[in-house]
C-alpha cells in the first residue's frame, strides 16, 4: 500500500468538492433539515408528554446518529460513483493502484466528508435544541465508532453492488440505510419487534448502539459487553464487505465488465 496512491483518490475528491456546490451542499444540508424537523418534533413531544422524560437525546440524538451512519456510507459510495460517472474505470483499474489502495482512498474520503456532516450536526443540534452528545457519557465513543465502521462496510458493499450491476444500481443502494433502519432499533427497543424480526436486529451492530444509548437516556447504563460485541461485529462486516468487493472485482475482470462497463452486465 502506497500512501501517495491512496492520497490521489482523496485529492481527486477534494478537487471535485472545491469546484462544485452540488457536491458540498448534500454533505450537511440534509442533516441540517433533519436536525430542524426532529428538533421541533421533540420540542413538541416534550411539551405535551408528562414532564421528566427528555425526548431530545432519545429521539433527536437517535435520528442524528442514524444520519451519521448514512453519511459515512454515502461518503464512500459517492467517491466511488465519481469513477462511474466520469467513466474512469479503465484509467483506475488499468493502473498500478491496488484494490486495497483504491478502497482505502474511498474510505478516507468517506471519513472526511462525514466528519464535516458530523460537525455541522453537532453545532446545529446543540445550539438550537440543546442536544449534547456528551450527555451520553463515554459510551458515545464506541457508539460512534460502531456506526462509523458499519457505515463504511455498507459503503464498500454498496460500491461492489454498483460495480457488478451497473450504474443504475445506484438507486438500489442509496436507500440501504433506510431499509435497515426499522431493524436497527433506532427509535424503539428490539423487544418491540415481532419475534421473527428480532434476529435480523441482533445481527446489526447499530442495534446494540441504540439499545445502550436508550438505556442511558432512561437513566441506566451502557452495556459495554454489547458495545464491544457490536464493534467486533462491525469489523467483521467490514472485512466481509472488502472480500465481497474483491470477489465482484475478480468476476468483472473475468467477464470483461470493467473494460465494458457501459454494457451493465456481461456473463
Amino acid at each position: 500500500m502506497k500512501m501517495r496512491r491512496i492520497g490521489a483518490i482523496v485529492l481527486r475528491q477534494i478537487y471535485l468538492l472545491r469546484g462544485s456546490p452540488t457536491r458540498v451542499l448534500p454533505l450537511f444540508a440534509w442533516i441540517a433539515i433533519d436536525v430542524m424537523l426532529w428538533g421541533f418534533i421533540t420540542r413538541y413531544l416534550n411539551a405535551i408528554a408528562s414532564p421528566g422524560f427528555d425526548f431530545v437525546p432519545a429521539m433527536l440524538g437517535a435520528v442524528l446518529l442514524w444520519d451519521f451512519l448514512s453519511r459515512v456510507m454515502q461518503g464512500v459510495t459517492m467517491a466511488f460513483f465519481e469513477d462511474v460517472w466520469s467513466r474512469n474505470f479503465l484509467g483506475i483499474f488499468a493502473s498500478p493502484l491496488s484494490r486495497a489502495e483504491y478502497v482505502s482512498g474511498l474510505v478516507l474520503t468517506g471519513i472526511g466528508t462525514s466528519l464535516v456532516g458530523l460537525a455541522v450536526m453537532i453545532a446545529l443540534a446543540s445550539s438550537a435544541f440543546g442536544l449534547s452528545f456528551l450527555s451520553y457519557g463515554p459510551a458515545i465513543i464506541p457508539a460512534l465508532l460502531v456506526l462509523f465502521l458499519f457505515g463504511i462496510a455498507l459503503g464498500v458493499a454498496g460500491s461492489a453492488m454498483v460495480l457488478r450491476l451497473g450504474p443504475a444500481a445506484e438507486w438500489l443502494i442509496w436507500p440501504l440505510p433506510a431499509v435497515l433502519s426499522p431493524f436497527a432499533s433506532v427509535f424503539y427497543p428490539i423487544s418491540t419487534l415481532p419475534v421473527w424480526m428480532q434476529p435480523i436486529s441482533l445481527a446489526l451492530p447499530p442495534s446494540y448502539v441504540f439499545e445502550s444509548l436508550r438505556a442511558i437516556t432512561n437513566g441506566g447504563h451502557a452495556n459495554y459487553t454489547d458495545l464491544t460485541f457490536a464493534l467486533t461485529l462491525s469489523l467483521g462486516y467490514l472485512v466481509a464487505a472488502a472480500a465481497f468487493f474483491a470477489h465482484v472485482y475478480r468476476v468483472c475482470v473475468r467477464t470483461g465488465l470493467i473494460a465494458r462497463y457501459s454494457a451493465e452486465s456481461v456473463s
Binding site: K2, R4, R5, G7, A8, L11, R12, Y15, L16, G19, S20, E82, W85, S86, R87, N88, F89, L90, G91, I92, F93, A94, S95, P96, L97, S98, R250, V253, R254, T255, G256, I258, A259, V266, S267
Partner: protein
C-alpha cells in the same frame, strides 16, 4: 526496476551480455480469451523489445482491444500469460502495471477535472517522481499550456487525445499501449504525435504497441506489425517489406486480401 526483477531469476551468475540481450518489454504467451464459448483471442504469442514500435492491425472485432485489455490487467485471459518487463502480470499486478501506461479513445480522462488536475492525480497513482516538473514537460510536449486549467470535458476530441497521451507518458512507461491514438486527430497534429511517440521509443527505450486502421501510419511509425484476424496473428513483419514479400501492391491491399480469407490462410 531491473533490480527488483532480478530477485526472481537469481540462479547462476548474471550474464555478461545483459545489455546486449535486454529483457523484452512485453512477452505475451499463448494468450486466449473466450466469451461464453466464443473465442475472440486465439492462442496469440508475441513479444516487444525495448524501443520497438509494433503495429497491431486487423478488422473491426479482430480482437485488438481485447488483447490490450488483457495486457492492462482489466480482462483475465482464458489461458496464457502476460509478462511485462520480466514481471508476470498475474502474480505481480501492481509492479507490472507501474511500468505500463496506455491511451485509448474510449478511455478519456475525467471530464470534470482540469488537465493539470488529471495529470496530477494520475501522476500520483503512477508514483511519478518530481511530478510537478514532469507535468510541465508533458504539457509542453503536447502543446497543452493553454488548456492547463480547462476541464477536460470541454476540450475537442483531438485535444482530449493529447491530454490522454500526456497522461500515458507521465510515468515514462517501459511499455506503452496505444489503441487508435490518432483516430480523432487532424493530419498535422497526428504527424507531430507520431513524432513524439517515435522520439519517446528512441530516447527512453520504451516499447510501444500501437493499433491503427491507418496503414500509411503503420508503415510510417512501426518497425514491425502484426495482422490479427479473428483472434489469431496471421502475418508479422516489417510493414515496409511485407507487401512485396506477399506479392501485394501496398500494405492496404495486403490487409484487405488477408483479412477477407482468414481461414484459408490460417490453414495453409
Amino acid at each position: 526496476m531491473w533490480r527488483a526483477q532480478r530477485r526472481h531469476g537469481r540462479e547462476g551468475p548474471p550474464p555478461l551480455t545483459e545489455a546486449a540481450t535486454p529483457q523484452p518489454a512485453l512477452a505475451v504467451e499463448h494468450l486466449s480469451k473466450a466469451f461464453d464459448g466464443r473465442i475472440v483471442v486465439n492462442d496469440v504469442s508475441f513479444s516487444l523489445e525495448p524501443g520497438e514500435i509494433v503495429g497491431l492491425v486487423g478488422l473491426n472485432g479482430a480482437g485488438k482491444t481485447t488483447t490490450i485489455n488483457m495486457i492492462l490487467g482489466v480482462l483475465a485471459p482464458s489461458s496464457g500469460s502476460v509478462t511485462i518487463a520480466g514481471l508476470d502480470l498475474a502474480d505481480h499486478r501492481e509492479a507490472a502495471l507501474g511500468v505500463v501506461n496506455f491511451s485509448a479513445v474510449y478511455a478519456p480522462l475525467p471530464g470534470n477535472l482540469t488537465v493539470a488536475q488529471n495529470l496530477r492525480i494520475f501522476g500520483m497513482i503512477y508514483d511519478v517522481p518530481n511530478l510537478t516538473d514532469r507535468i510541465g514537460e508533458m504539457i509542453d510536449m503536447f502543446d497543452l499550456a493553454r488548456y492547463r486549467d480547462t476541464r477536460c470535458g470541454l476540450l475537442s476530441s483531438g485535444e482530449q487525445t493529447r491530454v490522454s497521451l500526456a497522461k500515458a507518458l507521465l510515468n515514462k512507461p517501459r511499455l506503452l499501449l496505444l489503441d487508435e491514438p490518432t483516430a480523432s486527430i487532424d493530419p498535422s497534429t497526428a504527424d507531430t504525435i507520431r513524432g513524439h511517440i517515435r522520439d519517446y521509443a528512441a530516447r527512453e527505450k520504451g516499447a510501444v504497441l500501437w493499433t491503427s486502421h491507418n496503414m500509411y501510419e503503420v508503415a510510417a511509425v512501426c518497425t514491425r506489425m502484426m495482422l490479427l484476424s479473428r483472434g489469431r496473428i496471421l502475418i508479422e513483419g516489417d510493414p515496409r517489406t511485407l507487401p512485396t514479400e506477399h506479392g501485394a501492391a501496398s500494405l492496404e491491399d495486403l490487409f484487405i486480401g488477408l483479412s477477407r480469407e482468414p481461414d484459408e490462410r490460417a490453414s495453409s
